[in-house]
């Protein structure tokens, strides 16, 4: 009987069939669940993106009504942020953190299961809103008041509770990761011995625990304004709609780093492997990550330059935002220096990581442009902003996730994926993503507003290119599925080390890794040697 929770033999076989996945306390099973869930949401959110791009293929209204278009932009954003990118990183943390630090499992395995299984229910609630009277949330993923309060469809209440559930899930997931890293490291592994993926996740977990409760706070104030007559976001009662934006972005800006710091960690694992060199500047990487995390709490109002901040606010948030370019630059230079004079090979994970470094940097630079308050007055709410954050999120966060999947898939499954097909997937994605988002810089600078289903004729050419690119990117993700399935079913067997240049504790385990990673603490010296090499 499972209620006794007897912690007997740690080699006990798990229940079979569906129950294994529903009841599991195993970090690998839960990691797999997170990754599959994330992939599903990636396709759901991607389909919505394709609805948007189909509509924008030509000027005028083709396929959908503006009201539905708004629901698509809103749901696309929410699903990609909370359903695709965040769970993918949590899934990778579940799989890799215990293996990288020499732990048997996560620190709190039952809570780990709960963190995951809340998500499918939360997103069911979210998807249900599509079929409700008045339609799904239509106010953009940033749900600014009063659009999301006074003028919101009734389904907003369901949206609020769905966000609460996602928040609970994220906070518990983050607590688990932080406890695992702080408490379950192999004996002798100091903080500064940890692989960079573990470091970045430690800091991300801190950001999650600090930011998600603020999101819970802001949706609670929305709920009170909508249904209980308070006036937080209503100036008629002495409140302020701008207050919504402040509280939202106090969550929202750390949130964007939540979606990129683990990506930094992944790339910092992959590049040394395929450059066959140790990571350049390990210590500076740790400090840079921490600085970015701390700065993320004092830059939020750069999303609100045009809302009418006092001058001193504009200046403070402009300069603090630009300051983030310094630690980020440290990282980019470190990656490049790692590759300098390395014996590089270009397997699929490396290709995705290289594309990450280049394209994320483009996104970083457009971010710097947006950080300049007087210039932002021009760019605000145009497609330039859309181009910027898609560059950091798609060839940034999403590419890093794909790189991580290709990199660790042989360790998870014990089989190699098909390298040729992996390269096809990469190149099609790479071309598709740039075709989609690069033209958006131009139409944005030329003044095309975001979140509008129709546009002026002069934007037609670039929009057509972007739509073609979007469908190309979207369809090439089917190759991703094919590659994973093919790898699981008929890939060539992989050895322990998988990659010639791979370093770190996870590679000391057999491929596929055993059900419980380390049932005994790994040998301290081996652990240290391997992880240091893995830097």
């Amino acid at each position: 009987m499972s209620s006794t929770q007897a912690m007997t033999s740690h080699h006990a076989t798990p229940p079979s069939g569906l129950m294994r996945w529903l009841l599991t306390t195993n970090h690998k099973d839960i990691g797999t669940l997170y990754l599959i869930f994330s992939l599903t949401m990636f396709f759901a959110g991607g389909t919505m993106a394709l609805v948007i791009r189909a509509e924008l293929f030509q000027p005028g209204l083709q396929f959908v009504q503006p009201e539905f278009f708004n629901q698509m932009t809103t749901m696309h954003g929410l699903i990609m942020v909370f359903g695709a990118v965040m769970p993918a990183f949590v899934g990778l943390a579940n799989w890799m953190v215990p293996m990288m630090i020499g732990a048997p499992d996560m620190a709190l395995p039952r809570m780990n299961n709960w963190s995951f299984w809340i998500l499918p229910f939360a997103f069911s609630l979210m998807f249900m809103t599509l079929f409700m009277e008045g339609g799904a949330p239509n106010f953009g993923w940033t749900f600014y008041a009063p659009l999301s309060t006074t003028y919101a469809p009734p389904s907003v209440t369901y949206f609020i509770f769905a966000v609460h559930m996602m928040g609970i899930s994220s906070i518990m997931g983050a607590i688990n990761i932080i406890a695992t890293i702080l408490n379950l490291r192999a004996p002798g592994m100091r903080m500064m011995d940890m692989p960079l993926f573990v470091w970045t996740w430690l800091i991300t977990a801190f950001l999650l625990i600090a930011a998600m409760p603020v999101l819970a706070g802001v949706v609670t104030m929305m709920l009170m304004d909508i249904h209980f007559g308070t006036s937080f976001f209503d100036a008629a009662g002495g409140g302020d709609p701008v207050l919504f934006q402040h509280v939202f972005w106090f969550f929202g800006h750390p949130e964007v780093y939540i979606m990129i710091l683990p990506a930094f960690g992944i790339v910092s694992q992959i590049i040394p492997t395929f450059a066959r060199k140790r990571l350049f500047g390990y210590t500076s990487m740790v400090w840079a990550t921490s600085s970015i995390a701390l700065l993320s709490f004092i830059v939020w109002a750069h999303h609100m330059f045009t809302v009418g901040l006092p001058l001193v606010g504009e200046l403070f948030f402009m300069f603090s935002t630009m300051l983030i370019a310094v630690p980020t630059g440290v990282k980019v230079f470190n990656w490049v220096a790692t590759m300098f004079r390395g014996s590089m090979t270009f397997e699929t994970p490396m290709l995705f990581s290289l594309a990450f470094v280049v394209l994320f940097t483009i996104g970083g630079f457009s971010g710097l442009m947006l950080a300049i308050a007087p210039a932002d007055f021009q760019y605000h709410d145009t497609y330039f902003v859309v181009a910027h954050f898609h560059y950091v999120l798609v060839p940034g966060a999403v590419f890093s996730i794909m790189a991580a999947v290709y990199y660790w898939l042989p360790k998870w499954t014990g089989r190699y994926y098909d390298e040729t097909m992996g390269k096809w997937h990469f190149w099609l994605s790479f071309i598709g993503v740039n075709l989609t988002f690069f033209p958006m810089h131009f139409i944005g600078l030329a003044g095309m507003p975001r979140r509008i289903p129709d546009y002026a004729l002069q934007f037609a050419d670039f929009n057509m290119v972007a739509s073609v690119g979007a469908f190309m990117f979207g369809l090439s993700q089917l190759l991703f599925i094919y590659n994973i399935v093919q790898c699981v079913r008929e890939g060539d067997p992989a050895d322990k080390r998988v990659w010639e240049g791979s370093q770190g504790l996870e590679w000391s385990l057999p491929s596929p890794a055993p059900y419980h990673s380390f049932s005994e603490p790994p040998d301290t010296k081996v652990a240290l040697l391997l992880t240091k090499g893995g830097r």
Binding site: S2, N113, L125, N183, M221, M224, F232, A235, L243
Partner: protein, 295 residues
């Protein structure tokens, strides 16, 4: 229990998390439906979903914790697992701090920026054109639109019930610490006495808080609809009160567990976790007393 970490323990698969997820889903679905039904007259099943979800959740939490307590008493937990629980509880409390920080932040923003700007002060004085003649003050007795948001006639004086409640809650932290010290000395009778006193103090606090709300609503016109003063007042004191309620329930459970002899002088993390939580609630109250009532 200081066994050296030679092998690791991992719990077997468990059915509680998935049931808890279902309970949470029912609660969310039910709560959203119930709240949406407030405006219409329609009688749905939503409130039943909410109740069912809540009951299911209480049952799950009860059984889940019971399992953990049993494991602990069987001596399955190493020091390492104990540390994991401690980290878990600490970071959970940190997340609660950030939750309250959002509302305190809203209060500071409204008081320092939004209301003065509406009154014509500072960089965004132009906001005054929305409601000409509105003058900023705090507590905000005259809202910009008195028809939609009739301001309160009077606000709660800090030197009556709030001061009394401050004394009650601060003392309860002291009595809880005495109980904890007694537990470490293995003096179970004293633990029971001081823990009992702590619970009584918590219940008194809640009683006075309810009294204060009744007065606010019936005599002072201080309601949720009374503009931004009422909104910030009730969201801060309301969530604090909810946390005190939960804390009191936790204390009562701890009290029962003391009676059952669950805790020993050197192994009583459940007790400590609850006392951390109680001290946290206490600290939040000090913030409330200062920034909501006095200043």
């Amino acid at each position: 229990m200081s066994s050296p970490t030679t092998t690791y323990y991992v719990p077997e698969s468990s059915r509680w998390p998935i049931i808890a997820s279902i309970a949470l889903f029912l609660m969310a679905l039910g709560a959203a439906g119930t709240i949406n039904a407030l405006e219409s007259d329609g009688q749905g099943v939503s409130h039943w979903l909410l109740i069912a979800g809540a009951l299911l959740m209480i049952w799950v939490v009860f059984r889940w914790f019971a399992g953990v307590i049993r494991e602990s008493q069987l001596g399955l937990y190493s020091d390492q697992i104990d540390r994991s629980f401690r980290w878990g509880m600490s970071w959970f409390i940190f997340s609660e701090v950030m939750f309250f920080a959002a509302f305190f932040g809203a209060l500071f923003y409204v008081r320092n920026f939004a209301v003065p700007w509406l009154g014509g002060e500072g960089d965004k004085a132009i906001a005054n054109q929305l409601w000409q003649g509105f003058s900023a003050q705090w507590p905000l007795m005259q809202t910009p639109d008195m028809e939609r948001f009739p301001g309160p006639q009077e606000v709660i004086s800090p030197w009556g019930i709030p001061l009394l409640n401050t004394v009650l809650l601060l003392s309860s932290s002291v009595t809880l610490t005495i109980a904890h010290k007694s537990l470490k000395l293995g003096d179970r009778d004293r633990v029971q006495t001081w823990l009992g006193v702590t619970i009584l103090l918590g219940l008194c606090f809640l009683g006075f808080q309810i009294e204060e709300y009744i007065v606010a609503y019936t005599e002072l016109g201080l309601t949720l609809q009374a503009g931004i003063y009422g909104a910030t007042f009730f969201i801060l004191t309301g969530f604090h009160g909810a946390h005190v309620t939960l804390g009191t329930v936790m204390l009562i459970i701890i009290f029962i567990r003391v009676l059952k002899g669950h805790f020993s002088a050197d192994n009583h993390f459940g007790f400590e976790a609850v006392s951390w939580y109680w001290h946290f609630v206490d600290v939040v109250w000090v913030g409330l007393f200062l920034f909501v009532y006095i200043l």
